[in-house]
Symmetry: C2
Subunit: 224 residues, 2 copies
């Protein structure tokens, strides 16, 4: 792996583990066993590193999200979407750990973020609309946008929320499944009777994952 990629990789791992504000360029260099000067040969500054990670994040999500086939959009398709969203947020969780602070310090990143949010908001509305057409949900048209937005709020806030109520101020993988359960629950009042059966199955599935024994993250496993 090239040094530039190594830096991005190490930075992501350390940011996720310790929070971006607590990780200096010196830390990243030391962690890789390279000099600070070398790091600054590859990146103009710390912001530059974060920007690169954000680009990876957007690409990662684009790769892992199959645009829903024009066929039937079932609850399962919706779940795959939420799965992939939460999975990505786990992988890049430092971004959501203190998003306001991150964005206020980097207007360029903020612009990119807003653009990205606009796209995913539209995608969620589309998904709900398709669920509607397939009789999975029954939502009044005037409520559809707002439900999609409510789900989005919980989605982007989840990592941060779980961090605040965690005794050791950390998120674990099981927290992610709880997030999926939470968004499922928010859709529950709108499910049609036949979809409610599927809801119960999915709920049980994610509940099992959410209550699985919490594995203390291994920093080496995280980073390499």
């Amino acid at each position: 792996m090239k040094t530039k990629d190594k830096i991005i990789h190490a930075a992501l791992g350390l940011f996720n583990e310790c929070g971006e504000r607590n990780v200096t360029t010196n830390h990243i260099a030391a962690h890789l066993g390279i000099s600070p000067g070398n790091l600054y040969y590859h990146f103009r500054n710390k912001e530059d590193i974060i920007d690169s990670i954000f680009d990876q994040y957007v690409n990662y999500l684009a790769d892992n999200f199959q645009p829903h086939s024009e066929g039937d959009v079932t609850l399962e398709v919706m779940m795959r979407y939420l799965d992939s969203m939460f999975e990505t947020m786990w992988r890049f969780r430092f971004l959501y750990y203190s998003l306001p602070s991150l964005l206020s310090r980097d207007p360029n990143l903020h612009k990119k973020y807003l653009k990205f949010q606009e796209i995913s908001a539209q995608r969620e509305v589309d998904l709900l609309f398709s669920l509607q057409k397939n009789n999975v949900v029954n939502i009044q048209m005037e409520d559809l946008d707002e439900l999609a937005n409510s789900i989005k709020v919980v989605l982007v806030s989840w990592v941060s929320y779980r961090t605040t109520i965690s005794k050791d101020a950390k998120v674990y993988k099981t927290d992610i499944y709880r997030g999926i359960l939470k968004t499922l629950f928010m859709m529950k009042p709108y499910f049609t009777e036949q979809a409610l059966v599927d809801y119960q199955h999915m709920r049980e599935y994610y509940l099992r994952l959410a209550t699985a024994e919490t594995v203390v993250p291994d920093i080496n496993g995280e980073l390499f």
Copy 2:
């Protein structure tokens, strides 16, 4: 006003306006026209200032929240509760601007926060339960806790969320009313038919407040 109180007051204003991480003890002192040494005579360190503000926050909420009378708990009572919650979060919005970062740096504050959250969570469950008894909402018992929790997630995340989607990375008072609308919307599927009429009225009321001309906050008005 005593110097100690002046410091707390100025710190709160600056934290809200600029974010706690961007405000140093020197900034606070300079803003008040006192010396850094003087500030450190009154507070051991910055953490000490934040802790004092948090205590004010808890007291403020305790004062402004009238424990719901044992009489009828209507939708209006619930709204007064949400009103006062959001109002408090506006007044102390810097706390929610980057809560995870704040709490991870101050374990003592984290403990206090968790205790406080536990109390308010229980209060929200109680409120929903009372609404249930008064035929305002109709919620299956197994869903009551989860709905209360969902509302709480949106509540504590709202300031942060609105900051991220704001073009200038700031929250305004109108954002607060949108937050109330959002929590109202989350309860909507559970309202009984007669309560839905009240819902529409309240929705219109807060919608007017939310879409009122945005007033650019005056830093002097904020601080003095």
